[in-house]
Amino acid sequence: MATFEGREDRGAGFLGARLGPALKSYGDQLIVLLVLFAIWQALSMWLGTYWIGSPWGVAKRFTQDVLDGELLRHASLTLTEAIVGFVIGALPAAALPFLLRRQPIITAILDPFMVGGYGAPKLALAPLFILWFGIGIESKVALVAITVFFIVYFSALAGIRALDAKLVQMAQVVGANERDVARHIVFPGAVPYIFTGFRIAMPYSIGGAVIAELISSNRGLGYLIQLSAMNFDTIGVFVALVATALIVFIGNLTVNVVERWLLRWRPPSDVMLQAAT
């Protein structure tokens, strides 16, 4: 009897079919989150706070440190190192392929050096930079800058190379000169690629700053981690780690938001620009 009752049923069923799986997956994730916290709590109770601070203990200390400004002081230093280093590294790296656009020979000459620079372990230079610049922020900025440089260079290079010749021809026919082409065609076309480079380089910039601080510093989140560890203050270590992860998270968010706005012209499925990690 295909009556109204049947149709109402189907309506609810349809809605249920849409919401059901989504709710189930969010529900699952929530369950996992609770389980993780439960395990954390259990471990801290079983092993003792020397080994693992309890979630509650960490949360309490975290709030404490934020409120008395201590955490923010260190965090803002690390953030400053990361941002300044990022800017110093990323801007020339993005500009270089641009400037060398019409000199393919120079780009080719540079290529093995760039590949080498990209592949070489920049973090291994940390002691050298500390030797040169001391334990202040300069050495961290230098490390971040050189790490970011090579990442962004290759992304920008890919962006310049992905130039659509047909668009350039179109522009030339309507009267664009070299500068117009660079400004209206080459640059906007390269921006998505450059942004992918930014997205990849961002965690490296924060990580680089923290690592350099771990090795030698007297301020910053890395310093905080090292100091807490040396004082066997596990809760302090956790607090600093959480702060670091939070900064990376916010950094990711920022890059995503900016990218989404800057690249709102992009068609939804741009497969080639999905970074693997």
Partner: protein, 265 residues
């Protein structure tokens, strides 16, 4: 007033670069000659792969020629040396290509205004003109949309008025309506004729569709397959203004169609 033809193609030839170690590549276009009068709507028919796009590329000075001459306003255009090419001949030749080539990062309005921006002619008057064209092809309301938000037909229309907006005296069109459905195509053909009527530009319109060539053109040239040369020339005696939708019922149409059809082999 039999003036000098605006555009003369004399013995034009094109073959692509021979790869080292291979036989010389065949001529795509060989010994092609025709002329175009000022204000004429010339259609060119040719089968796919007959070098139609290559021909237009050479006229627009995007591509070099391997032989022959192109004269614009009685002056020879430098088409043999890639470095001396002048794409668009300083904005005298507009080119509506097969792909719409809209800039993905610009909105519809920004795309249409683009030639004005690079030519330094953007002002209230030209902006109003652009808006008028946008309305004329039915894109009103989509000015702030990005190309990926437009349908194929809408992008085609945008690319069409992008060329019209800066009023080049000569306009080349490479199968602009080819990928569209019949309804949209007819609509755009009507729009094109209407706009052309206002300005009476010189148009060279390439297509593989015989009916379209007859409906739109004052004169039609038929190209052979590669190596392309003129197989035939037909004056379209159907008077203007023309009714696209009923064109096929015109007495002259059927005969023209048959004659041209025979040549397109």
């Amino acid at each position: 007033m039999a003036a000098q033809p605006l555009l003369e193609i004399l013995g034009l030839g094109k073959r692509f670069a021979t790869r080292a170690g291979r036989d010389p590549s065949p001529w795509v276009i060989q010994d092609l000659s025709f002329s175009v009068r000022d204000g004429e709507f010339l259609t060119i028919i040719g089968p796919s792969g007959s070098g139609k796009t290559t021909l237009l590329n050479m006229i627009a000075q995007i591509d070099t020629a391997s032989g022959g001459e192109i004269r614009f306003q009685s002056q020879a255009a430098p088409i043999s040396d890639p470095k001396s090419l002048n794409p668009g001949l300083s904005c005298k030749i507009g080119y509506v290509t097969q792909e719409d080539n809209l800039l993905p990062w610009r909105t519809t309005l920004q795309n249409v205004l683009f030639p004005l921006v690079v030519q330094g002619r953007l002002n209230d008057e030209t902006r109003a003109h652009a808006q008028m064209l946008i309305r004329a092809v039915g894109l009103a309301g989509f000015e702030d949309h990005y190309p990926h938000e437009l349908s194929g037909g809408m992008r085609k229309r945008a690319s069409l008025i992008r060329t019209l907006v800066y009023d080049p005296p000569v306009i080349l069109m490479d199968e602009p309506f080819g990928a569209l459905d019949a309804q949209t195509r007819m609509q755009l053909q009507e729009d094109l004729l209407r706009l052309w009527n206002i300005g009476r530009k010189t148009i060279i319109f390439v297509t593989h569709d015989i009916a379209e060539a007859i409906a739109l053109g004052d004169r039609t040239l038929v190209l052979t397959r590669a190596p392309a040369r003129i197989a035939g020339e037909h004056t379209i005696s159907i008077p203007r203004p023309r009714e696209i939708r009923g064109i096929m019922t015109h007495p002259a149409f059927a005969e023209l169609y048959q004659r041209i059809r025979a040549e397109v082999q």
